[in-house]
Structure formats: C-alpha cells, structure tokens
Symmetry: C2
Subunit: 463 residues, 2 copies
C-alpha cells in the first residue's frame, strides 16, 4: 500500500520532491538534533498550494497520518514523526509574493523564514514587529501555527494580532483562501483564527497576509530596581501611562537570575549593583531620537523623584541599549552552567506573579536534584519563563519540577503555555489550563475538520 | 407542546422571568422600533449562567429556535423574531464582577451596557478603549457577538483584540468557561475566537474578561486637506510614523460629505474652506498635555513644510477637539436632509480606496432615485461608510445601490461588512466577501457546534 502511495506522491511532485530511503537519512526533525536521522515513510516537498491540496486529499483517502515541518524550532515535540508517517515540509514555498507599502501588508508563502520578512520590508521603512531568538530559522507557517509571541507583544501583539489573511489546506485537501489585505472583516466567522495557534492540527497554512507597521526610528532603554513585587506593578502602570503608546518592553528579572546573567563576561557586565530583589528592563520605541530621549529621561526622573524605583540607569547610546538587551536575551548565560535544564513559559494574571513565583522558588529549592532556579519574563504580558538546572534526566525529577510549576496555575487562572504551545510534551498538563468542556470542544472541532485524524495527530489532544 | 415548554421555563426562572401574552407586547426587537411589539413565543430573562444553560439544554432537546437579545442596537436585522421563537434577553445579567487594577482587566456579565464599563474604570485612571455611538444602549454580550469596531481601532483594535476571556453557553447547554485574566495563552485552540463575531450563532456569551489600558491624559486633533488620494495615504504613513504609538484616529471625509457635515449649524462650522477634495481628521492620545501638544504641532508643521497637505488647522483647546469630532460623529447632519437612507460599512485594501469610492460615486450618480451620496470612514482600517439618500424604499432601487457598492469588492479582496456583521440583511452578499469553501467551513462549524440549528438560526448562513 505504501508503495502505491509513494508512487502517487511522485506523480504529484515530479519525482524528485519525494524523499525516501537514503535521502531521508540526511534529514532531521529538529534544529537541535541535526545528527539524528528523520523517521518517516517519506518526506514531501510541495512547491504550490495545489500540490499540498492533492497530497492531503490522497492522505485523507488513505487515512495516512501527516506531520508538518516548518523551520523545526518547535519547543514541544510537535515535529517528531514515526516511520509510518508522511512528513510534509513547506521549505520550498518560500516566496515573498508582495509588499504593499500603502496598505502596509506583506504577502508570503508559509516557508519564508522570519528574518527574510524583516529584511524585505526594512528598505520601505516598514517593520514586521514579530521577533524572537529563532528568527533565522523559524518559518512563517510554523510561526502562525504556534501563534508565536516574543519580546514586543506589549506594543504590537502576538502572531494572531499580526495575521490579516490566511490560506490553508484542510485535511481533505480543501483550500480555504482568506488572503485579504484588510484590517476589519465582519462578514461571517473569522476562519483564520482556526489555523492560528492550532499547531497544524486543523489545516496546513500555505500563505499569509501579514500586517506591517511604520518602522520606529528611536529606541531607548533603562534598567530599574525595586524590592517588592507591588513596586513592579506600580512601575509597569507608571511607564505604560507616561510613555503612552511607546512602551515596547517591560522585562522582569529575579535577583539571582540577574546576577547570573551579568557575571559571565564584560559584554554583560551589570548596569546596576546586586543589592535588590527585582530588576526591570524597559524599552521604548519612538519616531524622533532627540525628543524621545528627552521624554524618556524626564519620565525616568519622575519615577525616581516619586520613589517608584530604588535605583535606575538609562542607556546613553545605541550600544548601551544593545548591552542591556544582551543581558536579557542571551539565555546561554543561564544554561551554560547547568548539568541539564528544563524550561517553562507559563502565564498568569499580572497581579499574582510575585507571590506565585516566590512560592515556586521556595518549593523547587527543597527538591533533591534541582541545582539552579532562574525566573524572568515578559511581565506586562503575564508571561514568566523559568529555567531550572538539574543533576539528571531522571523522569521522576522532571515530573516533580513540572508539578511544582504547573499545578498551582489552575486555581489562579493561569496557563501552562503562554507561547510555546502544547504539542506532545505538554499534553498531560493541558487540563490545568483548560476545563473538560473546553477540551471536549477542541475535540469536536478536530473531529469536524479532520475526521480521519491525519493532521499532526496526537498533538494538543487525543481523540 | 409550547405550553409544556413555557411551564418548564417558568420552573427554571421562578415564574416571573418568563414573559408571555400581554407582557410581551411591551417589548420590541430594536431600539429604533420601540412602537412595534415583539413577536415571540415568550421572552426569557435569565439571571445566571446556569439558567441560560438549563434554558438552552431544554430548547435543544425540543429543537426550539432561540433569538438572543442584548442592547438591540444591531444593524443587520439579527434581533428580529417570529411568534414561534423563544427570545432570551441577557439584560438581567448586568453585573460588573471585578476591576483588577494591577492586571488591568474588568470582568463583566454579558448584559452590562458599554457606558457602565467606561464609568466603572474611569476612577482608576483606566480606559476600556472600545467606543461608538450606541455606547449608552449596546450590551457587552452583543458587542462581543458582533465584534464591534468604532473610532479608535487604529490604536486599540476591535472587540476581538480586547477580549481576554469568555464564558459562553453552547446550544446543548454546555458552559465553556474560558474566563482567564491573561494576555497570552497558547494551551490549545483559542476557543473564545469562536464566540467573538459569530453573531450569537455558535453560543451565548454570558461573561467576559476585558482588557483595560492606562487612560490617556492628553488629546490633540487637526483637520487637513489634500486633493489626491495618494496624498491621503502619504499623510497616513507620515503621521503613523511621526506620532509613533499615539495616533488614534485618521478619519477621511470626501468633499461633498464635509460640506454637508459643516453647514447645518455653527456648532459644526467648517474648520477649513471648501476648496479641496479630501478632508482628514487626525487624533492623537498621549500622557503629557504640554509635551504632546508641542510634539503634535511640530509634526503638523513638518507636514506643511514638506507639502504633504494643502491646508491644515490644529485644535487649540479641548473645545476645539470636541468641535472637530462633532463634525465627524454627528451623522444626522448627513441623513436629516434625506427622504430615505441606506448605509454601508465596507472595507477594502487601503491602497485601493480612492479609486473604488470614486467609481461608486460616479455609478451612483447615474441611478434614478439616488438623491445624495456621502462617503467617509476610518481609512487607516480600510473601512469606509457610505450614506446614500434616495427618493423611495423601492426594493429594486435598494438592490441597484447594493450592487454598485458591493459587487466590485470581490475582485479587490474587500468585505461587505467591516463592522456591522452579516445577520439577515446582508446574507445575500456574503459570497462577495467569502469563497464557497469558506462558507462551507462556516456551515461545518455551525453543524458541529449547533447541530439542531437553534441558536440565532438563519443569521450569516443558511444550512
């Protein structure tokens, strides 16, 4: 049966774009595991939406499971496959089809790498605001499927907020073309929402229209320090009010993480001394360097005069801004000293973060085998990242750490994933973020849109 | 059968909250038709989510159609009912449950009127940014169901962007509780999107967590004039770039609409002479009146020096700002002189607006029976409102006008409804904005979530 299927794929894809046998061994399922060969029945490299449609139509008829590959930067195991699964990679659909300067949109195929989008719009003084560490590898289709966030959600929103139009292929090969370059469209259900953040389980995104914004021309930053979490919230509200519309980052770093982040080299030397409990990095984006710098400084001085912060230092130059952000972004400074590490991207109401994280620190510090505990995150979005260092890969230790960080989230209306998604790795914890009725509704949607359960099966939910 | 049903409703709702017979005659189905009695089997006034759940469970078992009432300001006929339909009004579920100042959220029941939300957060220097003419009547449940827009979408987004959590009751009575106070939640499908903008066809929204922002403390405005549509786009990009994050309104008014809007009384006297083709009203919201006014003036002067506008006048005081916005917002100045009127809220790519609207003007002016043609709108959102005055309510005349305004939208990727929705009145035009595959997917969702088709049946789509 699989031979017939492969021969049918070859008919659709002109022979060469069906990888089997030896040529499969050069492929892998994650950029962190390039030395491990991909397990799959075959890997397909479609170049058009029509080819994706024909492939899925065929797979659906044969109840053939399909795993979808983008840039392979997924953090929850979604790109793993078995030898009986067909893998479809969108990498050959990597055209930027149009930049519309007046409508401020870019139309791209799903295989385009994020960084290419940044580069394509820069010359027009436009910006695609989504940005994160994996920008050189992550493909737009995967970014949409996982509703990626990143560093500037506070000002520009998540992927969901930046997708105006979508083209997606459903399990039976039906093409949903909703590729409009319009901001507002209340004509019926907003179908694109089904494909954003559903991790490839309801359809394969093939093209998208993305929203662009005018590129900011000034950037200011400062580090501040306080001793109480209430002071963190007060500062957030203060800067959001006084830098109206310009505040683009409000990153919180717990004291021990700050110390580790600023002690590995002179490039990340500490802007403020190690005397405080919380360190905050704020960023503002504007349109006039001199005016914005003066305003930023005046607002910062007001914060000091009003005793909202215990200490503060403002970046005096673009290289200072880079220095400040290097501290926050170079997470290797945290993980390099770890024997093994375990990462988290929880979210919870902003008002409850201080107490919850403190309790996690306390509980984790009593666990045998936990060696380091670091917390930092996008506090304005309610999104905290934990990085835990541990002595072994023991499964019980892992579960014990998960329980401490996840289990309290249910009572306070938090989520086990703010950004990375559920995939396979967090499936056991979905019921912490979602009620049984919600999970049943997800299943109903999956059954309705993919009745043979062929698309990224067993991601997020089991049927 | 209906007697048993009503008696069951009375059991659920303590007798008094089931209106039948004479007491139904005091009710109506739209705030514009208060003198016309409601047609319905009965009208139900639940006070809790549990009551809504029990009502729907019963209706679903009896395949009893249900029409949902909020503030009755809907513009596409969605609240009309027949004598065999059960009407549920959410008006008794009008509690504001919590304002969380640190998390910047408000939790409300669906029957709360928009203006009450504005009032409740004002004392905390917070703002719920959604705002439009019907704020004194529109209820939050209906606002969510219709994904309302309004005047400040450019800066703050539509309703969809402001809903963090939702509680909704599905057709069979299942309660979907997704009432989280968090910005980011990538744990599975974003189910709340199903209930935002689906016009009550997939569930009844009973409660919501809404996003608040720090209230701006300064407001500036100006009128500008240009002669070419390309100049409009250039100005939009200029102000969006130079008033980074503060530009909150960019309203375009065509010359003949501007003339009519500014000629009915001294309160709406013209800020600029009648010499130009396009008039633009811009608004900026900030946090420091003196700094913002100086910045706004400097940016405006730059626009003049760079010859981006032919003429401009800046509001010199808060009362000037009110004067400018009175011109734009008081649409009665357009409709008062009309024998009959017909309204539109189309959207299309920003780059194509100038040409498309000009063609509509040209075609409409040749139609017998069309007396006035006025265009204006939120051009930054690609959303243009047309108001057409006509001599009669003749059906053919109405369809002729619809055809001129709608039919060209399909080829250019526009939408027949940017804001108001489809309801019953625009159902015949849905296929202009949506492909057959999209409409079929909407039907699949409706069948999956409401298999007996009891919730607001025959709105948006027919099965």
């Amino acid at each position: 049966m699989s031979d017939t299927l492969i021969s049918n794929f070859q008919n659709i894809l002109d022979g060469q774009r069906v990888l089997i046998g030896e040529s499969l061994k050069q492929r892998y399922d994650h950029i962190w595991h390039m030395n491990t060969s991909l397990e799959a029945l075959c890997l397909l490299l479609p170049q058009t939406t029509d080819e994706v449609s024909k492939i899925l139509n065929l797979c659906n008829d044969h109840e053939q499971e399909v795993i979808i590959h983008g840039g392979l930067t997924n953090l929850v195991g979604s790109t793993r496959s078995s030898s009986q699964q067909v893998v479809i990679s969108l990498e050959r659909m990597d055209a930027i089809e149009e930049v519309d300067i007046a409508s401020r949109t870019i139309t791209v195929q799903a295989g385009v790498i994020l960084e290419k989008i940044h580069d394509a719009v820069e010359e027009h003084n436009l910006l695609f605001p989504l940005n994160f560490g994996a920008r050189g590898s992550a493909q737009m289709g995967g970014i949409i499927a996982s509703n990626a966030g990143g560093l500037r959600v506070l000002k520009y929103g998540m992927t969901r907020d930046l997708v105006l139009g979508i083209e997606a292929v459903m399990a039976d090969g039906t093409v949903i073309n909703s590729l409009k370059k319009i901001i507002k469209n209340n004509s019926g259900y907003d179908l694109k929402q089904l494909f954003v953040g559903s991790e490839g389980t309801l359809g394969i995104v093939t093209r998208a229209v993305l929203k662009l914004v005018e590129a900011p021309s000034s950037r200011n930053a400062a580090f501040l320090a306080v001793d109480g979490y209430k002071d963190v919230v007060r500062l957030l509200k203060f800067f959001d009010a006084h830098l109206a519309g310009k505040l683009s980052g409000f990153e919180l770093i717990w004291a021990n993480a700050y110390k580790q982040m600023t002690s590995t080299s002179d490039a990340v030397r500490p802007p403020l001394p190690y005397d405080y409990r919380y360190y905050i990095l704020i960023e503002s984006l504007g349109s006039n360097y001199e005016r914005d710098q003066a305003e930023f400084q005046a607002v910062l001085e007001t914060a000091i005069v009003q005793e909202l912060a215990l200490d503060a230092v403002m970046a005096q130059s673009p290289s200072d801004v880079e220095w400040f952000f290097r501290i926050r972004e170079d997470v290797n400074n945290l993980t390099d000293g770890m024997t093994h590490d375990q990462h988290f991207d929880i979210s919870l109401p902003v008002s409850l973060i201080g107490k919850y994280i403190e309790e996690c620190y306390d509980k984790l510090s009593t666990v045998n085998g936990v060696e380091q505990i670091y917390a930092f995150g996008h506090v304005a979005d309610g999104n905290i990242h934990f990085m835990i260092g541990k002595e072994s890969l023991d499964e019980n230790l892992k579960l014990q750490i998960n329980d401490i960080i996840y289990n309290g989230l249910q009572d306070i209306g938090g989520s086990v994933s703010a950004e990375h998604g559920i995939g396979i790795d967090k499936k056991a914890y979905l019921q912490i973020s979602r009620t049984p009725q919600e999970i049943e509704l997800m299943r109903a949607l999956k059954r309705s849109l993919d009745p043979n359960n062929i698309l990224n099966p067993r991601r997020i939910i089991d049927l």
